[in-house]
């Protein structure tokens, strides 16, 4: 951080609350009788259950060609010879593209290097003979049908000159590490002398935890349908970052941002993976070269080869405490992997920065570089695996000093952010623990492991804290159009990957404008709409909310101007006016009002349309803003076979105000289920001899299926965060955090065995 940035950060922290977004709470927080908070069914539900929601690979285009990719079988080196003539002569083949004939492309700006950069890596794609990972696409075949393309790519033969590659995480660590960075800041924090205090602490744990690589595996395969018209590129994409994708493609192809039109009305799951990878870029390049539209659908293996996942980690957690459980020292350090061609460090210490009070801290993430597909963010990057280590260690310490693990956590509850010193915007984790413990009947837990048995099954209870920060990124914006029939269209370049965005935002906008839900249309998933809104970091709800707040303010001001002196609203300042019953009213006197229809009719306008940008997201530097949850797990472990079954699970959440209990509960449960996968089965296996992923399929990369998942109970405090739009914080990622530790702690309670390397497979319990 530069001196100027540091000074600015300090100034924002010390500024009066009223200067900061959220300084005066969103008036919508007080609205308790509207659509917000209602368990509304998804508005796109009928389309989805009828199979009518159209995904990226389902848009018909005249003259379409189908693409297939040929992947490198070595991790590093160069192509000596690539033989394509057989493929070129195969039936139906339109084009075989390799580095020898690909159009000239600029390097892909990698995510994080520019506010709109979306590249998974920063390579110049198919521009030379270099190989960067085992699985890199080295040729693309276009044919009249998918079958013809698939067959033709199988006829391609490549000779490689192989260089020594770094493909072993352990070996790379032994060879030396480099400091990690996240969002431009070093992943390193020291407060006090943690090593000295740890050395003298009367109670301590010091353990190493390991987590493997993970792949997102949304069920919709990564796909795009692309077509050029002159220098204009049209992309039907599966994207959680349409504006970012369009800007990045424009940089690669040397055209203007407006010349790339990306839409993505429905996304079949993303979890961090549906950004810009080589397949869309290669598809666009091939479409340009062949002068034909292209559909590219990665095979499931192709997704593993082309789209990166979560990087592996090796983490040390050392806790030093007094006999009463108070922490003297928290040390959380370790190593994760990245590649020479990306900038994403899995930031596993983030949760540890704000969860507990301690006299001293030493937190540090180091990195090594592997020659693999670029790793990327996957649901709760950092927290998902970081909380496994930290919350397992807390459980180990509780066992060590003979204290209830919930009480140990509450004993170390901080009054202010323990490492930044900022006040909390809202923090209800203690309430979540108490409510959860009562509902889960935690008092029945036996502190001594192996105390409960049911036939061959050992039964244990475990718990862990879950946490995820409130984020809001710059770039939020919205356009609101109100028509004379009293309807509103709100447009934001946001995304619906199943989070319930379209539904929850329609509820919010209806309340803000004083309309019913069927009078509101929410348009999204299209680069022609305003805003730079990443569906990531659980920030989309806040980003859209802030954009709508700004546009609404502009709308009210415009409306008041139009209303003029003949309106009951005459003389009111925009800040004194809100949406109510199909129009505007004075906030302190609901009888002083006029409908939108009446205002527009009198002004002889058919509609009014305003667009505005959201405030700069300074609130995160002024308050410490985090969601939390208390996770409770009951695990049954078969003493004969070592199988683990999760028989009960409860998540007790504190995530600000819940906008839609139905869709939010699904997000919580979905996160927890992905957490069960992380705990028990998910592992991307790399063949360290060749750098090739060995299990690139859903048959061999296991994810939870119906029978793995019990009825999952979720509850929440529903306490509004006064510093956020709508009083809400994101709900998409927190569900996966804490789950790995809750399961591991329950398995320990059942068996007395402490598993510190995920996943907890049966071989580790026998």
């Amino acid at each position: 951080m530069s001196i100027v940035q540091a000074a600015l950060k300090k100034a924002i922290a010390l500024a009066p609350d009223s200067w900061i977004p959220g300084g005066s709470p969103d008036p919508l927080i007080r609205e308790r009788h509207g659509h917000v908070g209602q368990p509304v069914s998804r508005i796109d539900g009928p389309l989805k259950v009828a199979g009518k929601a159209r995904f990226a690979a389902e848009f018909p285009i005249e003259g379409l060609t189908y693409a297939a990719l040929h992947y490198s079988s070595v991790a590093k080196g160069r192509i000596v010879e690539i033989r394509t003539s057989e493929a070129e002569q195969a039936p139906g083949v339109v084009l075989v593209m390799t580095h020898r004939n690909a159009p000239s492309l600029a390097k892909a700006p990698a995510f994080g290097t520019n506010p709109k950069a979306a590249g998974g890596d920063d390579l110049a794609i198919m521009q030379d003979d270099r190989i960067h990972w085992n699985g890199q696409a080295v040729a693309l075949v276009l044919a009249e049908t998918q079958e013809q393309a698939d067959h033709a790519q199988s006829l391609i033969r490549v000779d490689y000159e192989v260089d020594a590659a770094s493909t072993s995480f352990e070996q790379a660590i032994a060879d030396g590490t480099e400091p990690g960075q996240f969002m431009g800041e070093p992943l390193k924090l020291r407060i006090g002398d943690a090593d000295a205090l740890f050395a003298t602490a009367p109670a301590k744990v010091d353990a190493t935890y390991r987590t493997p690589g993970h792949n997102h595996n949304p069920i919709e395969l990564h796909a795009a349908t692309l077509a050029w018209s002159g220098d204009e590129l049209r992309v039907h994409d599966a994207s959680q970052a349409v504006t970012h994708a369009a800007w990045t493609l424009s940089q690669i192809f040397g055209i203007k941002e407006e010349q790339v039109h990306v839409t993505s009305p429905f996304v079949g799951g993303g979890f961090g993976s549906k950004t810009l990878w080589h397949h869309q870029i290669l598809g666009a390049a091939a479409a340009r070269l062949a002068k034909r539209p292209v559909r590219i659908v990665l095979s499931r293996e192709g997704v593993f080869r082309t789209v990166g996942g979560r990087a592996p980690t090796e983490q040390r957690v050392a806790l030093g405490a007094r006999r009463d459980g108070t922490f003297d020292a928290i040390i959380h350090t370790g190593v994760t992997a990245m590649t020479p061609h990306n900038a994403m460090t899995e930031p596993f210490i983030i949760a540890t920065r704000s969860l507990y009070a301690a006299k001293s801290f030493r937190l540090e993430v180091d990195t090594v570089k592997l020659n693999t597909v670029a790793n990327t963010f996957m649901r709760a990057p950092g927290e998902a695996v970081g909380t496994f280590a930290l919350e397992s260690a807390i459980d180990e310490l509780a066992a060590e000093i003979g204290m209830d693990p919930i009480e140990l956590r509450i004993r170390n509850e901080p009054e202010r952010d323990p490492t930044q010193g900022l006040p909390f915007s809202q923090r209800g984790i203690v309430a979540a623990w108490r409510a959860g413990a009562e509902r889960f009947e935690w008092y029945k837990r036996q502190q001594r492991p192996r105390s409960v048995r049911d036939g061959d099954w050992l039964v244990g209870l475990g718990c862990a804290t879950a946490t995820y920060p409130y984020y809001r990124m710059p770039g939020g914006a919205a356009r609101i159009t109100v028509t004379r029939d009293g309807r509103a269209i709100v447009a934001v370049a946001a995304h619906e990957m199943g989070m319930g965005t379209a539904t929850a935002q329609t509820q919010v906008i209806a309340d803000r404008l004083g309309l019913s839900m069927d009078q509101v249309k929410f348009h999204y998933g299209d680069t022609s709409l305003p805003g730079i809104v990443l569906a990531g970091g659980s920030q989309q709800t806040a980003s859209v909310g802030a954009g709508v707040v700004a546009a609404h303010r502009a709308l009210v001001a415009e409306m008041l101007k139009l209303a003029g002196n003949d309106s009951p609203l005459a003389g009111l300042h925009p800040s004194e006016v809100g949406g109510f019953d199909g129009g505007l009213c004075a906030l302190d006197d609901h009888d002083r009002r006029e409908s939108y229809a009446s205002i527009l009719a009198r002004a002889q306008r058919t509609e009014i349309s305003v667009e505005a940008e959201a405030s700069m997201p300074l609130e995160m530097q002024h308050w410490s803003m985090h969601s939390h949850a208390a996770m409770f797990c009951e695990a049954r472990v078969n003493e004969v076979t070592g199988e683990v079954r999760i028989s009960r699970f409860l998540g007790s959440f504190d995530c600000g105000r819940i906008l839609n209990p139905k869709t939010a509960a699904s997000q919580f449960r979905g996160g927890i289920i992905m957490g069960l996968g992380l705990a028990l089965m998910e592992e991307t296996q790399l063949d360290e001899r060749t750098g090739r992923i060995m299990n690139p399929s859903l048959a061999e990369y296991h994810v939870p299926v119906h029978l793995d998942v019990p009825a999952i109970d979720v509850i929440w405090t529903d306490e509004a965060d006064p510093r956020t739009p709508m009083g809400a914080r994101g709900v998409g990622e927190i569900g996966i955090t804490g789950v790995g530790a809750a399961v591991a702690n329950a398995v320990f309670n059942a068996t007395g065995k402490r598993v510190r390397d995920l996943p907890i497979t049966l071989d580790k319990l026998l």
Partner: protein
Amino acid sequence: MQFVINGRSLDADVDLRTSLLDLLRDHFGLSGTKKGCNQGACGACTVLVDGNRINSCLALAVQYQGRKITTVEGLTSNGALHPLQEAFVAHDGFQCGYCTPGQICSAIGMANELRTGVPSYVTADVAAEAITVDFDEIRERMSGNICRCGAYNGIIEAISETLGTIPLPEAKDAP
């Protein structure tokens, strides 16, 4: 080649390598049936053939000429959703909606298997005349349909609620 899909007779001249899934999606524009793995591991492509559920990605189209194929598009009648489709919406049995058509077709095929007494891995008494339908029995039988968003609880609720209302498929030799 001649196909009977959702009660309609359709002709197509396709490559013999074409899967039933690609036939539906690429040749007939019936994109309600989804491709999630193309190797029989995820269940997103589940359709009904003569009332039985199959993974259409593992089926060659050429083998299914003349068989009665039902896809998610064939479940609505006169634009009205099937009770199971309604229940999926009511119980939030999906998030992104991509695996949903497969889950729904699979559940309808499963209802048939349950009624005809086909036992499963969790059936306590495999010799029993009738299957006792409970939470475990439905979960086990639906485990071939992966939902990565994790809407499993809602899916099972929706199926449990409507299981009794799912009609038996018509006999194989029906016209």
